[in-house]
Symmetry: C2
Subunit: 435 residues, 2 copies
């Protein structure tokens, strides 16, 4: 389909990448896991070289006057590198995600159907300033036997190139891995239908949205993270205050932090003053709707909310509060305003919980616990590629399984379809076999 495009004008050879990915998939899991251990050791032994490259990136970024947040992400220090290497070694020890039989059925005597997991093929990963993300992403790609096209933030280019160079040296080439450098390369990658099977962008909302709108390759990820906590009429007020506060303050810049708290009118007088007190300890700015202002007055970290506030991902110590008249109104608010990432109910009523679980159409729907639990590690998935808000393929925190596809393997001994049609047709057995 795009036969002529396998080699780009920049000289990137996508055909060779796919072949290398296939070779990676034909190895055993023990071989791939041993590559990961060697990769961790190789990076460990080259710490000084990595830090030197990172210092050069930082010096350049300081000259350019990068924001504090970006600088913070750009830094690769001892503890961040150690964390990344620990994670590589942990990924090596996870169960093999490919070659797993997920369905098995006897269609007829001697005709056995299996559905098995396989690598997706070539994954395009675009990530922001954090160079430790590169290490994590490469380890997930190797473990899942996928080819990987990497495009990191240009601020981190020296660090990223050094990391890739060390990994290549350690593994003796690593042809299943390609590092793109220029900004134009992102557009090249987005146009590589047939060469790249899946794009995973990590970065700002606007960047993720740009990727989704400029490619016909499937994109897995999330743009916004507007999460809601709804305090039901029957909520235990202490639980509501604990959970809603944690959902905001534990790490407000995360996509799974709460941005809007909805409060049932019958819980408002008990909940709101106590919640306000808890938030004051962290100087959280409250955008309160009109009815909320009856319980927590304007001034002292309280401003009046506009409609815009309920569509805003603050990513900081701010949140919006709205009083609703019913569970149904809360569910309708979430349908219209949440980004379908993570939404929680605080309730002691089993029926309200069931209605919320079944009616809220989000990747993660929680009851009586913090939205911040929406995370691959906390969910017990081992490692996480990211969080998907799309409904197809993988939804919510995505682990190694999300980097696999399946194939149907049918093993026979000469069966024809013509024998299963017409007046003397053989009948299928269709008996599920143990996996």
């Amino acid at each position: 389909m795009l036969a002529g495009m396998s080699e780009t004008t920049n000289g990137h050879d996508f055909k060779a990448l796919r072949k290398a990915a296939l070779n990676l998939s034909l190895m055993g899991d023990d071989e791939r896991s041993s590559m990961l251990m060697r990769m961790a050791d190789g990076l460990d032994a080259a710490r000084e070289r990595i830090f030197e490259a990172n210092r050069a990136d930082i010096a350049e970024a300081e000259k350019k006057g990068l924001s504090d947040a970006l600088m913070h992400r750009l830094v690769l220090n001892e503890s961040k590198l150690s964390g990344a290497l620990d994670s590589v070694r942990a990924v090596a020890k996870l169960p093999c995600p490919v070659g797993r039989v997920v369905e098995k059925r006897l269609l007829d005597e001697g005709l056995v159907l299996e559905k098995r997991t396989y690598p997706i093929g070539v994954i395009g990963m675009v990530f922001e300033a954090r160079p430790d993300a590169l290490i994590q992403i490469v380890s997930l790609a190797i473990k899942s036997a996928n080819g990987i096209v990497l495009k990191g933030g240009s601020e981190a280019s020296r660090t990223n190139e050094t990391l890739v160079d060390i990994i290549r040296q350690t593994l003796g080439g690593a042809p299943f891995m390609m590092l793109l450098s220029s900004h134009r390369d992102v557009d090249t990658m987005l146009s590589m239908e047939g060469d790249v099977d899946l794009i995973i962008p990590r970065g700002s909302n606007s960047f993720v949205r740009y990727c989704m709108e400029h490619t016909h390759i499937p994109v897995m990820g999330h743009a916004d993270g507007i999460c809601c906590v709804y305090v039901d009429e029957s909520a235990d007020i202490e639980t509501a205050v604990r959970v809603a506060t944690d959902s905001k303050v534990q790490y407000p810049a995360a996509c799974n932090a709460v941005e809007t708290v909805l409060v049932h009118e019958k819980a408002a007088s008990a909940f709101l003053p106590r919640f306000k007190k808890a938030l004051d300890e962290y100087s959280v700015l409250i955008h309160a709707d009109e009815r909320t202002l009856e319980y927590i007055p304007l001034g002292n970290n309280v401003v009046k909310a506009t409609e815009e506030d309920f569509h805003t991902e603050y990513l900081s110590m701010q949140l919006a509060i709205k009083i609703v008249s019913s569970l149904d109104e809360a569910i309708r608010h979430i349908a219209a305003h949440s980004s379908h990432h993570t939404d929680a109910i605080i309730t002691q009523d089993e029926r309200s919980k069931a209605v919320f679980f079944n009616s809220v159409d989000s990747a993660d729907v929680f009851a009586n616990c913090s939205t911040r639990f929406a995370d691959g590690f906390r969910f017990g998935l081992g490692a996480e590629v990211g969080i998907s808000t799309s409904k197809l393929h993988a939804r919510g925190p995505v682990g190694l399984d999300g980097l696999t596809t399946t194939k149907w393997l049918l093993d026979g001994n000469g069966q024809r379809v013509s024998d299963y049609s017409g007046p003397d047709a053989r009948h299928f057995i269709h008996e599920d076999l143990p996996l």
Copy 2:
């Protein structure tokens, strides 16, 4: 995001459709299944009205001079309608595809995570002339509790409108179902990101490709069906002749029929003359590559193949044959030419089979049986929405499961993430629970 677009200029109310789909999902499976039985009975009782509408469509099509193939698809006669109604009743009896717990894990005492299946939401289905497809699609949508936007072929508009009218009368409204009529409506649907969650096009290659290239909504389906059968060096020749012949002649217009037969050079002299004899019974036209012509000469249903032939989906009593020097060459040919739908090896060598299974990156990979087995019913999936050649979400024959997504439900009693971090952090248990 597209809030203002829920009601189209044509007056279709997508917001009401989504709400109706949610209501459908909140019913029990018994209620949805009983709707299906009522729908089948209602259509059964209105046979004469349906045939009358269909006769009007046929009369109009005859005036316009539609092709025989299209006319054949357009006709809805007693036996086709009976088959469609049998299928509706069979779908009613299938296990419920939604609300199924597919993962369950104890994260900590009192903190239980479940991954459960849910309907995708609203599915846009575009299908060609066959009006019986409408009945099947509506039944799958109801069983999986999805809203459905239907766009049938304009040739069948009277029949489709009558079917929808009868279904609405029988079910007392059926607001989860919308029938589009104009050609412009397809483009409207393709632009309905946020209102339609998944597009499933069934029709010509060019139409499916058009859909894929003109929407940012995920599309599930297949454009081409170029399937290969490879006759290995170690093939049992009788098996090879039986299977390769069935793969072509049993129903040559199907997407899972073989278009290219690859023959190992060491099997050529034993296989090719016998294969030619078997194909001659069905007057199959062979496009033979140069080396093949050494075994089956030009003339008498044999023409010389061009490179184009190995990229062609004949959908008729024609196929291409090529001699290869190795299993590896066969695999490379398939990678470059097949549409990654269904490819088969004929071999008695376990190692060749394993290499073929692992290296061929297609939805269905078969050994020693006909490519025509690639079908939801034959696979034991009950009903089939279609066959997907994309690697994400669902691959190969897609049953009701492909119309579901998942949600992560986390049920706690006040847990905060802050308790799981810092020096006195609680540790996760992460114990998988029985489903």
